[in-house]
Symmetry: C2
Subunit: 143 residues, 2 copies
């Protein structure tokens, strides 16, 4: 299979397949004489694996580790579970953070007339700044 066929078979774009090759995550099984990438079922399954893991919000770094465990027939499931649990905790933390934002905003929006007049509790809050206790962290986001 060339890259386009692999893309259709796996649901991963050709662009991303090239990227995974570049970072050494999934290498083509071979190259044709004319330098085309060739993939077989093994790689297709790995690409599907990655796609599914991405859809569960794992970062590429986590996926790299998951994929290497997946390839290792003797892996201890403990390691897989640890990665998953860590990711669950990350998700929960981000969910809580966003829920707090949403709740604050819901309250402010509820108090806002939303008409032609300029008075607005939302802007008032942003002005007064109910001091964001935590200086907004720069946390790299993952899907």
């Amino acid at each position: 299979m060339n890259i386009g066929q692999a893309a259709r078979a796996s649901g991963v774009t050709a662009k991303m397949i090239r990227y995974y090759d570049e970072i050494g995550l999934v290498r083509p099984s071979a190259r044709t004489e004319s330098n085309y990438r060739e993939y077989d079922d093994r790689q297709i399954n790995e690409l599907k694996f990655i796609r599914r893991a991405r859809s569960l919000g794992f970062s590429m770094e986590e996926i790299t580790r998951l994929l290497s465990l997946w390839r290792d027939r003797g892996r201890p499931s403990r390691e897989v579970k640890a990665i998953a649990d860590k990711h669950i905790a990350d998700l929960d933390a981000r969910i809580a953070e966003m829920q707090a934002m949403a709740e604050t905003l819901r309250h402010l929006s509820h108090c806002c007339a939303g008409d032609d007049r300029p008075d607005c509790p939302i802007l008032a809050d942003l002005t007064e700044g109910s001091a964001p206790s935590d200086p907004p962290a720069h946390r790299p986001r993952r899907a």
Copy 2:
């Protein structure tokens, strides 16, 4: 106030203050002869505004609009509310998405022994891929 004092007064890093200047969001009130940025209370308040808005997860694009409404004494609160409500909807959507991920993972993790044996429902799921119905969208992250 120079940029360092403005940073301490507003809680925004000097680096970001330069960035906001560059993108035209908050310009210094003046430059000294030696080209140092100078800020006064007005800008400090705007920087605090931005910081607070960021902590509520607004994107810079939304903040640009919020800030221009904030500056406009004749703004209709309707417009502010519309931005906030849209953002709440965005947050809710992302929360729901992440909760679905977390729930799926919680289930899988619960079913995983997490010991020395290689059998692992987490990897099994990633392999089978309970077909991610929505091709994982490339949604620019904000927060």
